[in-house]
Symmetry: C2
Subunit: 230 residues, 2 copies
DNA sequence: CGGACTATTGAGACTCCTCAACTAACGTGG
DNA sequence: CCACGTTAGTTGAGGAGTCTCAATAGTCCG
């Protein structure tokens, strides 16, 4: 029914910064010609679930959150869109999720019709786009693996590890957490209180430290063991 | 970090049978020329997680299960591949999941190199492929919504509803369940015992009936309410 | 500086998991 | 064709973990 993607050993499926890194100048110009640059302030809504899906978006800097309001009143966070991420999944011509800026954000908005036109004319560009989608697919699978964890500590650890891999930094022990606890909670499907408690226990165990908007891995060995324990 | 796909209102993103329905004769011939037909018996392994990802596969008939063995000894079922589904997701040149035939299966195996070559030469075909991937992506999101449910009954109902939508049948109340309880359990992340109990309660409530390899929806109103309650 | 939101901590209830026993169904070989 | 062994499925009792509700401390922003 789902997932398990098609693709392709020989391909340059670089995870991060694909749009920025793998496109030729000509391709970048082609996209720039049909894209509109949009600046958004924190908390601004990009689009709402159910809106007509006229455009796709490329994050040019900042952090965007993608989520879904459930009938129960709960909120399901589908993921976080960092620089160079593409978002705007549609189904039946309507956006599947809502998206909102968490920080100040620069977006490139590309009308879907123009995008489809360009893709049909440029197989190479379309191929890069396909790679991007496949990469998103792998992220979704990773999220599913996180949700499969029973233990709250394990979910936190896998979440941090996911961010670490998605956004490698100079210091391999330091991980930015630019979103708040509730956003994390709704992403890994825990109550905010459970996130707090799990972080507290990881701190007591000497495995990690948590600060305002960041985490630090203190004991890499036990951290990696916890991540792999799934 | 994940999901939220790019794509495209104007596109014919028909969910089922895309490969069969949306390709031109010329495109089908092109694929047939590079594909190998493979017949598998029930329980046969298609490939194992970690194997070199040399090919992608199109299910030509029968049921395939995609799964991952976790370090804890548990098993995570990524999904079920029905006729016309494409599978064979690779990361770093290795398959991400293992796949196994649940029934007798016909597969079309396409070497990745040949596939990439064909895709680069035929933007239209590549576009269909992209649509297929996007469809898989939506399935993954649906699975995540199922996993977000707290109640076992709700997960079962959503799972059945997913199968119903994926494989529409003549009788809208009847749903085939060609996989066994353990496979279902590992897909919706419950213990097999919990699946049994949830089904028993759904039966007691008069909402559904369960037979050997099928389910029947008795009270559509309450069933739909349960599915939507997420 | 004040107010609202975020984060943490505590106590009790609920649900599912684990372990175990038992029944039913299947498939294989005599 | 039947008997037996193996696997799949159901049901029960107890325990572990998170969720909910509530109260408190901390933080950010106007």
């Amino acid at each position: 029914v789902n997932s398990d993607l098609p693709v392709v050993r020989a391909l340059p499926l670089a995870g991060v910064g694909l749009v920025r890194q793998l496109l030729t100048d000509a391709q970048r110009r082609k996209l720039a010609a049909i894209a509109t640059r949009v600046e958004l302030r924190p908390r601004a809504i990009v689009y709402r679930e159910g809106d007509p899906a006229d455009s796709i978006f490329i994050n040019g800097g900042g952090l965007v959150i993608s989520f879904k309001e459930l009938p129960s009143g709960r909120r399901r966070v589908a993921g976080f869109r960092f620089q160079a991420d593409i978002f705007g999944l549609a189904d039946q011509g309507r956006y599947v999720n809502s998206t909102r800026a968490l920080t100040a954000v620069t977006l490139y908005e590309i009308p879907i019709d123009a995008m489809a036109e360009v893709l049909k004319q440029d197989a190479e560009l379309e191929f890069q786009f396909l790679c991007k989608v496949v990469h998103e697919m792998r992220q979704a699978q990773r999220q599913i693996l996180i949700l499969a964890r029973r233990d709250a500590k394990g979910r936190i650890a896998m979440f941090v590890d996911m961010l670490r891999n998605a956004r490698p930094s100079d210091d391999p022990a330091a991980v930015d957490l630019p979103m708040n606890r509730s956003d994390i909670a709704d992403f890994i499907d825990l109550a905010p209180e459970s996130v707090s408690r799990a972080c507290a226990r990881l701190r007591q165990d000497g495995i990690m430290a948590f600060e305002r908007r960041a985490a630090r891995i203190l004991d890499h060995e036990r951290f990696d063991a916890l991540v792999a324990a799934g």
